[in-house]
Point group: C2
Chain length 409, copies 2
């Protein structure tokens, strides 16, 4: 059961002018389910992306990086399959990813380098290329501007709910839409981007800004979530600016640029936190906020030590205020000169620890009250400086073990 | 159910001349269980220790470090309680640890600085000092040289089986005994040493050798195991040389020194692997062997990435050869210039992956056969150099979640 995350309402998703989506049932892993997505952009669209730093990166990630360079970001389509990650598949996997682009380019009448391929699913198994390619015409027949919800469904793996986010704003005198989809529930500790995230806007954005913003939006959203600490082989986050709307942004210092950047980051954060809310087996949504660090790197190290600790995560699952486990995680986060006497720990509004020990006013029932909530903020003040960061995670439940023990069956 | 680990046979445990152990039921957390241990050494014994690097280290760890310096290693007794870790307890916790030593020193007629205190159990709760101190006379009444099995039982927390190891050898012309105990099942990713480990020998060992060997033995045993990646606040490993036997070792280059060092390390490794075999919820014992690394640090980073991955660990629990998860973990281990084409992955004798993908001869049924075993070796050849290391871990099961969700209840 995802934590405070509802199925998308298609009527609340703003179409993005200059972009259409189509899905198909290609039978890639299981028959009868929507497992193939094509996103088609009108000429003039520009894309930028960030990708996993996992050295065993998937074949489509390699091809995406090549094509973004070769096309200078003038991308005409994304093609995404679920059911097979096409990772750990060597030369054959790379050939399959390239052939997917060649075949789709033939159908669309564009260069193969104008296509970005994405895959998600099981690692170390070969992509069923013939079935994928055979499904492309049906996906193209389905192309429509209001297919965002179906698109989100077509890229799911262990997700229980499709993940979409959409915002509209008037920036300057132009109405701007930003809509995106994402997938992911396990193998989530993005290092660059999440498993798969796509955000599109109808604004026109200068290429150098687009590349910077996709990285910055990732850093403030997908790069700040974790379910199980496992960085995927396929993490990809792509930002598309179709330019079909009225807004044109080229000067980073303009007020319009600031507003659009904030809108894009907000959609990315909606999607990223949706991934955590639907994290495998999640019953709690946990915000870990670290303040008073010497640097953001230090704050992130402490936040991730807490967010990755199986002991902390099982305590949240049990609603058990066994809060010494949080102190222990702070203590082993790798901050060598950390003085524990200067640390204050809060659970929502409850002051848990100070001066190296339990706060004198802390009462077990106060901790218990907060731990029972579905959404909890852990806040640690390190007392060392002024840097801060926030990381979002979930608890570790029996269902996480069940889901991952049974994943391939 | 621990993996291939039987309850100790007291008759197989060699007493260590110059050392006696006594236990008591002090009611520290629960009434009626053995929860207090005193180890008493004859005059002339020397001790050395390594302790957790967790910055939130427990009060007794701070006192141990002080007393080892103040006494120059001339330690007369260890006192250990279970049920309360005395960590995250601030100034009051430190006072309780010191008072424990003062009271025991009074009973034994020695300096408080000749006592090393240890605690294990729940963090962030105060030590019930009065009950602990009231139990000391009973523990002293119980002192005997053949109490190793009872001692191992008295320091357990979520352990299901007491952990002891004992070896005897003739070194030079002297018969030497090395016997030790350890505890720990969760919050196990020692960084210096494990939760609690004590190894004693009747040999006399020169102080500078003793200090070096305790570190080296830890590095080859307790520092190479992980259950859940959580480095404890209380990790302590102490090596005692009573000098009551016939062997005297002062020259590191002598053949006797090499043999004794190997014997001590073997006992430490027996204890460390016993902790993994009895890891919380463990159903599999996994050896992760990394070869062909550029450095041991690099090999350890890759080994721990595999050993800590919840996805890898749940696949072992399920006996599911979902081996792409191992490749993914290798890929995100932080070796930035890793070339995945040069990696070979084996599961016991089965060659799983090569050249960035699945080995052409790999068959699912071969992987399945190995995954069903209770003991499995993952071996990755990185093809980058000649450094290697071994890490021991266990799987991640439903019982891990249950045990840690219910720990305090």
């Amino acid at each position: 059961m995802p934590v405070n995350l509802a199925a998308p309402d298609p009527s609340a998703l703003h179409p993005v002018a200059g972009l259409e989506l189509g899905t198909a049932r290609a039978g890639i892993r299981k028959p009868g389910r929507r497992d193939l997505l094509v996103v088609h952009m009108a000429e003039g669209a520009r894309a930028a992306g960030v990708f996993t730093r996992n050295r065993f990166c998937a074949a489509p990630v390699i091809v995406c990086r090549e094509h973004l360079v070769a096309s200078a970001g003038a991308i005409r389509a994304l093609v995404v399959n679920t059911g097979c990650a096409n990772a750990g598949t060597g030369a054959q996997g790379l050939a399959s990813a390239r052939q997917t682009c060649v075949d789709l380019a033939g159908l669309l009448g564009c260069e193969p380098s104008a296509i970005l391929p994405f895959s998600t699913g099981v690692i170390l198994e070969h992509l069923p290329l013939e079935r994928l390619v055979a499904g492309l015409p049906a996906a193209l027949d389905d192309l429509a501007a209001n297919n965002w919800a179906q698109a989100a469904e077509a890229i799911m793996t262990t997700d229980t709910i499709p993940k979409v986010a959409s915002r509209q704003a008037t920036i300057g005198s132009a109405q701007v839409s930003v809509t995106g989809i994402a997938k992911g529930a396990g193998m989530i500790r993005p290092n660059m981007a999440t498993m798969l995230g796509f955000v599109a806007t109808d604004a026109a954005i200068a290429p150098k800004l687009l590349q910077r913003w996709v990285q910055e939006a990732a850093d403030e959203s997908f790069n700040r979530i974790t379910v199980d600490g496992d960085t995927s082989t396929n993490d990809s986050f792509v930002l598309v600016a179709t330019g079909a709307g009225a807004l044109r942004v080229a000067d980073e210092a303009s007020p319009e640029a600031g507003e659009l950047r904030a809108l894009i980051t907000a959609v990315a954060r909606d999607l990223a936190t949706a991934i955590v809310r639907d994290g495998e087996g999640a019953t709690k949504f946990i915000t870990v906020r670290i303040e008073g660090a010497r640097s953001e790197t230090e704050a992130a190290a402490v936040a991730y030590a807490i967010a990755h600790s199986p002991l902390v995560k099982t305590a949240f699952f049990a609603s058990d205020p066994n809060l010494g486990r949080i102190l222990a995680a702070i203590g082993y986060a790798g901050v060598d000169d950390l003085e524990v006497d200067g640390i204050d720990l809060y659970l929502d509004d409850v002051h848990v620890a100070t001066a190296g020990g339990r706060h004198p006013d802390y009462r077990e029932e106060d901790g218990q009250r907060v731990m029972k909530q579905a959404e909890i903020t852990v806040r640690a003040l390190l007392g060392r400086g002024s840097a801060a960061t926030t990381v979002w995670t979930c608890d570790l439940s029996h269902d996480y073990v069940s889901i991952n023990a049974d994943y391939r069956s």
